[in-house]
């Protein structure tokens, strides 16, 4: 599905609210790969995922897809990624099917079969016509994850996807990730529980935290 174009980040340095979050951070993610971000709270897992999505710009360093920096063609990069954040984007007055077909439509997938397959992939086809206001947190999270399957995109960026999921749903997610990677897709996810990602790499962000007394680097680097 995708060429073996590497998704790379070179000596990334990021500031959030004037504070140095991480520096000199590198990563490489080939097709079919999976990168799990671990590290204490505040070590910048979400920040790195938002950098990869292009919501944030690093103060130093570049992120590139197949050698082309994201800033060069942000629109193309957005077309090739799915981002699952902490919020599930579920409208109270729309049914699950309407929500999913909207998000699939935004990515150019209009046929109902793809939407139904995605609903089935996360076991929410039984409640497809239930309006959003009646969904539990777990169901809302599964609906949000169903977007990954509804419209194909090579790069998945998942920020603590397993929050609110029961054991069975986590298995569904692991299956979806495995299938996606088998098709040549790639996944970056941050998690606090151990998610089975056979052959995946782990990036511990604590290793890139700013050294203690170097804290003022933020002031001069700004």
């Amino acid at each position: 599905m995708t060429s073996s174009s590497p998704f790379t980040g070179r000596d990334l340095l990021c500031l959030r609210g004037g504070r140095l979050v991480f520096q000199d951070l590198d990563f490489t993610l080939a097709a079919g790969g999976c990168l799990t971000l671990v590290g204490p709270n505040g070590s910048g897992k979400s920040t790195l995922l938002r950098l990869m999505a292009g919501l944030l710009k690093p103060l130093r360093g570049t992120i590139a897809w197949d050698g082309v920096a994201l800033a060069q063609d942000p629109e193309a990069h957005r077309a090739r990624l799915h981002y699952v954040g902490h919020l599930d984007a579920v409208k109270a007055s729309f049914t699950c099917r309407e929500i999913l077909s909207f998000w699939a439509g935004v990515r150019g997938v209009a046929d109902r079969a793809a939407v139904d397959r995605a609903l089935a992939a996360f076991a929410i086809d039984t409640i497809a016509d239930v309006p959003g206001r009646f969904l539990s947190a777990g169901q809302r999270r599964r609906l949000s994850l169903a977007r990954l399957v509804a419209a194909p995109a090579p790069l998945w960026l998942l920020d603590e996807p397993t929050v609110g999921l029961d054991r069975a749903s986590v298995a569904l997610l692991e299956g979806a990730i495995a299938r996606h990677r088998a098709d040549g897709g790639r996944v970056v996810l941050s998690t606090h529980i151990d998610l089975a990602t056979p052959g995946g790499a782990v990036l511990d962000l604590a290793a890139f935290a700013p050294a203690e007394d170097d804290e003022d680097g933020a002031e001069d680097a700004a």
């Binding site: 203690e212 007394d213 003022d216 002031e219 001069d220």
Partner: protein, 73 residues
């Protein structure tokens, strides 16, 4: 002298204009100075309270008294 004070009968308007000017200009100056003092005082306490300073303590932006010291990049 009273001719000067009466401002040709428009004393109220002229003097209140200059009074307002003094109020605004001096007021902004005083507010800015007190603001600066307050922030630099909290900064000094924070700088002092920073534990584990390996390098020589870096002086905050500028205590007004001493000349500015170059902060090592």
């Amino acid at each position: 002298m009273d001719g000067f004070l009466s401002m040709g009968g428009y004393a109220a308007y002229v003097w209140s204009s200059y009074g307002a000017a003094a109020l605004v200009l001096v007021g902004l100056l005083v507010l800015s100075l007190t603001g600066l003092r307050r922030v630099e005082r909290t900064l000094a306490t924070l700088e002092a309270a920073k534990p584990r300073r390996k390098r020589e303590p870096k002086v905050g932006p500028v205590p007004t008294a001493s000349p500015a010291t170059e902060t090592a990049p």
